[in-house]
């Protein structure tokens, strides 16, 4: 990246987390806070969080090649994306919700604000979710996302990526990030990827090709581990025994996702 103005307000480790102001990514210019963050201690409000209770997942949700529910299979290079979710001490974050979304093989999202002239795939929603298992492992079957143009600067293209959203054990462990693919020639040109301040930080967002994950005659494998902030898992006591109160799951209503049929809005989302 050419030089850019970088703000000094960062939440979290400034060697790892992007600054709020990173001018090369133009959307930060009017949205970055300018006042120093106020430090708050870990109280019960931060030590707790929705992670352990939001759980609405079916096995089909992790198969993005078929979860459009059309009976057809998505077009593109089939890939398996798997890895572990860990806390900073290396302990697995078990049974936590992982949500993903991505462009299709041609680089187009089903989103109504994505209007560039690449084809939609009627068999691909580009959204998935799963739970980690007891070892903290997640696994998705999907197709390789395409790169796509955006209007941040002249001839700007986002490298192939998959958006990840994780809750972890506490409010302080919330993470929304993007996973990139090793060897992508667009990575050095992308201001969002390069907003992570160090080589080590950027490397932590790149999945590795994993031949041991690759399945013969089926799909190529990629591995990517995720390390969440927040208090270590050992901070948490198991739930009290004898409590028979079951709290309803806020994401439990299950209605099939549908591809939006009307795409009338043509707002430019990139400026």
């Amino acid at each position: 990246m050419s030089t850019t103005t970088i703000g000094d307000i960062v939440r979290g480790d400034a060697e790892i987390f992007p600054p709020y102001l990173y001018e090369a990514y133009r959307s930060t210019i009017k949205r970055a806070p300018t006042r120093t963050l106020v430090e708050v201690p870990l109280t019960l409000s931060e030590l707790t969080g929705p992670g352990p209770t939001i759980s609405a997942v079916t096995p089909d949700d992790a198969d993005l090649t078929r979860n459009a529910g059309t009976g057809g299979e998505a077009m593109g290079q089939r890939i398996i994306v798997t890895g572990r979710v860990l806390d900073a001490s290396g302990a697995p974050v078990a049974k936590t919700l992982v949500e993903v979304w991505q462009a299709n093989a041609a680089g187009r999202y089903i989103h109504r604000r994505d209007q560039w002239p690449a084809p939609l795939d009627p068999n691909f929603l580009g959204i998935g979710r799963c739970h980690t298992n007891e070892k903290g492992e997640y696994r998705f079957l999907t197709v390789m996302p395409g790169a796509y143009p955006w209007r941040n600067h002249e001839n700007a293209w986002r490298p192939a990526h998959i958006h990840f959203s994780l809750f972890g054990n506490s409010w302080a462990s919330r993470l929304v990030t993007q996973m990139y693919f090793a060897g992508d020639a667009l990575l050095p040109l992308d201001p969002i990827f390069n907003s992570a301040p160090t080589e080590r930080a950027r490397a932590a967002m790149i999945a590795s090709y994993a031949h041991d994950v690759t399945e013969p005659e089926w799909a190529l494998g990629w591995r990517w581990d995720i390390v969440l902030d927040g208090p270590d898992a050992t901070t948490f006591e198991p739930p009290r025994l004898g409590s028979d109160t079951v709290v309803s799951d806020p994401l439990a209503r299950s209605e099939p996702a549908v591809i939006p049929s009307e795409r009338s809005e043509s707002r430019d989302p990139h400026q």
Partner: protein
């Protein structure tokens, strides 16, 4: 204790709605008729440095129930859980930056062994152009404990009002209505937090 390098944050981008706001994944109404407590509606706008509404932000909220109990294993105090309330909500802003959610007024929760925190809702702001989410809180102007809240006390008095929702005198529905805007940048900028990591 070894500490692994954390995974950096990246923006949620503009295309999150289908994944995060699909019909079964949105929860801007956190309550049902049987949820205990005072039902309230909180409404406002997310504004950028030009005072323009932010049309592609996500607000996530987390709060205790009316008894001040969090629905989480780390809160093992002997207080009732409400089977009709989880405490989590996720709301996308509208084209003009407006947001709204319906919940209950939370109870007070402990700060440490001696002090109590005023009723509050934890808020995370995500959006296109936000490379890392922002943490803040929503307090209430009609709660006696608000003035002495130990987290608000860490903020200079002139900036505390940015975290305090004001009761709307013109409310007409069945819930109490509170107003608060989230100002990302500039005059009246909302106070955002750095949460101690351990």
């Amino acid at each position: 204790m070894t500490h692994l390098p954390l995974t950096p944050s990246q923006t949620v981008g503009p295309f999150f709605h289908d994944a995060m706001m699909r019909e079964d994944a949105r929860c801007d109404v956190l309550v049902s008729d049987s949820t205990e407590g005072t039902h309230i509606r909180i409404a406002g706008r997310v504004l950028d440095g030009d005072g323009a509404g932010v049309p592609d932000a996500v607000l996530e909220i987390w709060q205790a129930n009316r008894h001040g109990r969090y629905n989480h294993p780390a809160d093992n105090r002997d207080l009732p859980l409400d089977p009709a309330f989880t405490g989590y909500g996720r709301i996308a802003t509208q084209h003009d930056g407006k947001f709204c959610f319906t919940t209950i007024k939370p109870g007070a929760v402990p700060f440490d062994r001696r002090r109590v925190q005023a009723p509050h809702i934890s808020l995370a702001v995500l959006g296109r152009g936000l490379l890392n989410h922002l943490y803040t809180r929503i307090y209430f102007d009609d709660e006696q404990l608000t003035a002495a809240d130990p987290v608000l006390q860490r903020i200079t008095p002139d900036r505390r009002p940015t975290l305090i929702a004001r009761r709307d005198a013109n409310e007409s529905g069945r819930e109490k209505v509170y107003r608060i805007d989230i100002v990302l940048q500039g005059a009246g900028e909302t106070v955002f937090f750095e949460i101690a990591s351990r």
